[in-house]
Symmetry: C2
Subunit: 154 residues, 2 copies
DNA sequence: AGCCCCATGATATATTGTAACCTCAATTTT
DNA sequence: AAAATTGAGGTTACAATATATCATGGGGCT
C-alpha cells in the first residue's frame, strides 16, 4: 500500500489550496463557497448537507437553505475539493484537493469517524475489473463499514 | 478474478433457495416476505424500498406501506437474501443467497443497470487494508459508477 | 442604458428512512 | 382453559435527504 506522505493541508493552508484548485478550474471562489468549504472542513466526521447548512447558517448569522449548500457541495465534489461518502449520505473535505486519487473510506459504525486511505493497487484492480465487464469512465466507490480501533477497545 | 460459475438461481428456484436460506436462519418465510422477495426479484435494476412497496401493493391488491417493506428488506440484507446498493439507495435480490461473498457492483449512471461481480482477491485486499488501519468486522462496500457497455455504444 | 451570465435566494415538493404504538395470531406458561 | 409472551405486520406520523423551479441581484459587456 502506498502511504500518503505528501503535504496534508490544514486550516488556512487547506482553504488556500481549495481556492486555488477551484479557480484553476475556471470557477469562482465566492464568499458563499468559502463559507461552505470552511464549514465542511470544520467537521471531523462526514457531515450531511444539512449539517453543513446549519453550520454555515451560524457562521453567516442568517438562514442558509440546504438547497444552496447542495449546489456548492456538488460543485466541490466535481472539482475534487470534497468527497461524498455514499454509505453515509455525507460529505468530507478533501485534504489534498490537488491530487487525484480514487479513495477508500473506512467508516466506523459506532462513532461515525471516517478515515481515508489510498491504495492505488486496490483501486486500480477495481477499475480494471469494471473495465473487464465493459464499464467505462468508472468512478469507484470503495467504503468499508466497520468498527474503528478506538471504539473496538471499549 | 474468480468466475461465478456456480448455480445461479432464477424464478421459482431462486425463491426456493431464498426460503431455505431464511428458514435456516431460524426466521419465518411468511406470505408477506415471499411477496417482497418476489417483487424485489422481479426488477432487473436495483429498486428502492418504495419501488418494491408499490410492486407489492399491486401484487397484493392492497396498500402496503413502505415501512413494512423496509423491515423486511433489512431482514433480507441481514440474511444475505438481498443486497443494498449504497450509492443508489436501492436493493437487489441476491442471485445465490447460499454463498457469502463480499460483492462488487457496477452501476450504469445512464440506464441504472447494476451488474454484480465477485473478485475475492480484490475484496480480500480491501478487508486487509481496513484491518491494517485498525478497523474490525468490516463490511466492504465496493461499487463502481460508470457507463455500461450497452449505453457506451450509443 | 440595456443585456447577459452566473451565483444565490426562496419556495415547494419529492424521495428516502425511522419511530411509536397498535393489533392479531401463534405459542407457551400457569 | 385462561393468561402471558412473542413475533409479524399495520397505521400513522415524522425526520432526513435531495431536487426542481422560478425569482433576484450583481458584474461585466455593447
Amino acid at each position: 500500500m502506498t502511504r500518503h506522505d505528501h503535504q496534508l493541508h490544514q486550516g488556512d493552508s487547506l482553504t488556500a489550496a481549495a481556492r486555488e484548485r477551484l479557480t484553476l478550474q475556471g470557477e469562482q471562489w465566492t464568499g458563499m463557497r468559502a463559507a461552505v468549504f470552511e464549514a465542511l472542513a470544520s467537521f471531523e466526521k462526514p457531515a450531511s448537507a444539512y449539517d453543513v447548512a446549519e453550520q454555515v447558517s451560524k457562521s453567516q448569522g442568517r438562514r442558509v437553505a440546504a438547497n444552496s449548500v447542495y449546489r456548492i457541495l456538488d460543485l466541490f465534489v466535481g472539482a475534487n475539493l470534497a468527497r461524498r461518502v455514499e454509505s453515509a449520505n455525507a460529505y468530507v473535505a478533501n485534504q489534498h484537493p490537488g491530487c487525484l486519487h480514487d479513495c477508500i473510506f473506512l467508516i466506523c459504525d459506532n462513532c461515525g469517524q471516517a478515515v481515508h486511505i489510498d491504495d492505488d493497487n486496490l483501486t486500480k484492480g477495481v477499475r480494471e475489473a469494471a473495465k473487464g465487464a465493459g464499464f467505462s469512465a468508472p468512478r469507484p466507490v470503495i467504503e468499508v463499514r466497520g468498527t474503528c480501533g478506538d471504539c473496538d477497545d471499549k
